[in-house]
Symmetry: none
Subunit: 205 residues, 4 copies
């Protein structure tokens, strides 16, 4: 947490982050203006610089803050799952979809800015996204330990593949158009099935 820590201040900080997510999601980082974020947050342009070093910093902090929230949520939800690793994997994908539906702007923000931020912003190693992939990877590992998931597959690669697949599909389904009731569930169920079948350790193998 940055300098201001009293109630009112951290409220303002959060309003700015929230506005940043919204504005960056809408226009993309490079098309977004700091003054628009300020307007959306209901603060003066200069105020943003009391809480964040510059525009880049605002992007990174927004990204980290939201990813932390997502990771925490995933962790606690996965802990609640009563069942094996495949059940967890199922729940993981489900939570991912719910995020895209419930927090559309946030999902859009992450999807679009993930590559930009990690690639073009100097000296930024995207640790929070690494954590996210780590959670997924952990589930895969557990599945392998339980003998439910094949061993002849690298779990880090699978994690990335899973994320990439979901990201792309959600991008096209949820983030760009109105999706008819039921279609989303159907598609994501198929996708979940695809991966679970692909990963399953077959007895005869």
């Amino acid at each position: 947490m940055a300098s201001p820590t009293n109630r009112r201040s951290s409220d303002k900080r959060e309003r700015i982050l929230s506005a940043a997510v919204k504005v960056f999601a809408r226009n993309g980082y490079y098309n977004a203006k700091v003054s628009e974020v300020a307007r959306e947050a209901g603060v003066a342009d200069g105020t943003i610089y009391l809480y964040f070093k510059n525009k880049d910093d605002l992007l990174i902090k927004a990204f980290e803050d939201r990813m932390t929230w997502i990771n925490d949520r995933l962790r606690s939800e996965l802990a609640k799952v009563q069942g094996d690793a495949l059940d967890k994997l199922h729940r993981f994908l489900e939570l991912h979809i719910l995020l895209a539906i419930d927090e559309r702007e946030l999902a859009e923000f992450i999807t679009v800015e993930l590559r930009q931020s990690s690639k073009f912003i100097k000296e930024y190693k995207n640790q929070k996204f690494g954590e996210f992939l780590g959670l997924l990877s952990e589930v895969i590992k557990q599945g392998q330990d339980e003998g439910l998931i094949r061993h002849n597959i690298d779990r880090h690669t699978v994690s990335r593949a899973l994320f990439g697949a979901c990201d792309e599909v959600l991008l096209s389904l949820v983030l760009r158009k109105e999706v008819p009731e039921g279609v989303l569930d159907a598609r994501m169920a198929e996708l979940t099935g695809l991966f679970i079948e692909g990963l399953r350790a077959h007895r005869q193998l």
Copy 2:
């Protein structure tokens, strides 16, 4: 003649497109300067505007030109495949990997700018990328017709998922770091296996 179309000219146009791919891949569209593209192409800044309407147009034309090349290549290579749909799918993924290796900059350019261009550049419907997905979708369909791929799965969704997964994995493997000999092949083989297993129509199911 309004726009230059003779031999020397189209050579220059190609040099500019090529430079654009390189510079956009290196810095991203918004960080790239037109003058840097010009320098890379060995032409004056103004020359770019003889061939392209503006910076946006340069991005779109570079994208379309390269996607056309990729689609043509995929189409002709897939036509040569002697075998069933799963063989074609295999080949498709293989070609995708080869592209990332042989034309690293192009792959990076497409990966990073794909979302930007279709999302933030007004009135641009990314038709060429749709074609790419269509090729993949066609292979899936053939597999379903041949009884090799499950029918209870939407082939357009699968196409996107496949693309997203490969894109993300390649991005992390090839595009960002040096990959030790053999690792890439291993990872992509696993990925191919994952999808082929996931898609396969099991007799007993």
Copy 3:
């Protein structure tokens, strides 16, 4: 507040308008650089764009602002005239000359940019200049009503003719060279006489 409107701000706006009149008068609109207007006004280049949409807008606003001032001045001075319409006409021409002498830059600015602005700046109907001609036209009408000015002459045409004649003469006399004491008065008196004689309703006609 979107555009600055407090005391200090409107002071700055006025400084920019004033600088614009000076610089546009000196170099003409197309040869004038926004940065030169900024320097003359003692502000940064960007500041101009806080008060005006673009260079065209600056020209139009400068024009309108100054024409409003001139029209107000003419109106109030004409109201003070004790006498008939010919006295008013006399005073009108006198005020016109005084303007050219006292506010040389302003006169030069208006003279030179009048045609440009109304002809080449899209969608700009020069209402303020119309008002100016309207004031003159009103005096002619009054003269006709009083029987001092011939009726067989269109008062709008006469207004334009009067303006055109004065404009051209002043341009050559005042705006380009140093005029020896007395010559100006003599010339303008002749001009006034010319028009008053030309307009006078002769008993025998």
Copy 4:
């Protein structure tokens, strides 16, 4: 006449001048592009620079060429007039109107660019326009010699006034809108009357 003097060359030179008049009249000097003049003339951009030093030179040469033509025409037409100076003055104004009607583009070009060219193009003393005014001045002088025009008026000033008045009225009548049949003649007759009355030497004075 410049370097090229054979038939084909001077034909091309004339085509360029003609195109320049048209394009400058349409868009104004500063908005006109050399390449548009070239297109209009049916020559290559570079060709213009074989006949004229630069864009400024093209403007000046077009101006001088056309003014020479106008002056010659006026001179020869005035020579034909059988009558006194007032008849000549009448004819002068008539010819001026005819020019605006028959050679609308030329009139527009001269009207709009006259001030620009003489004011902002370095080291250019508009000699041809001086000649034009001289012709008018000569008629006034003759009228004064014949006792038809008052002596207590400077003939150079009157010349300018006359030109300015006609220019402004024609600008509003002919050059900007469609004029109903007859209105133009009526207006110009009034204007002619205005000046002739204004200038007339009254016996009783």
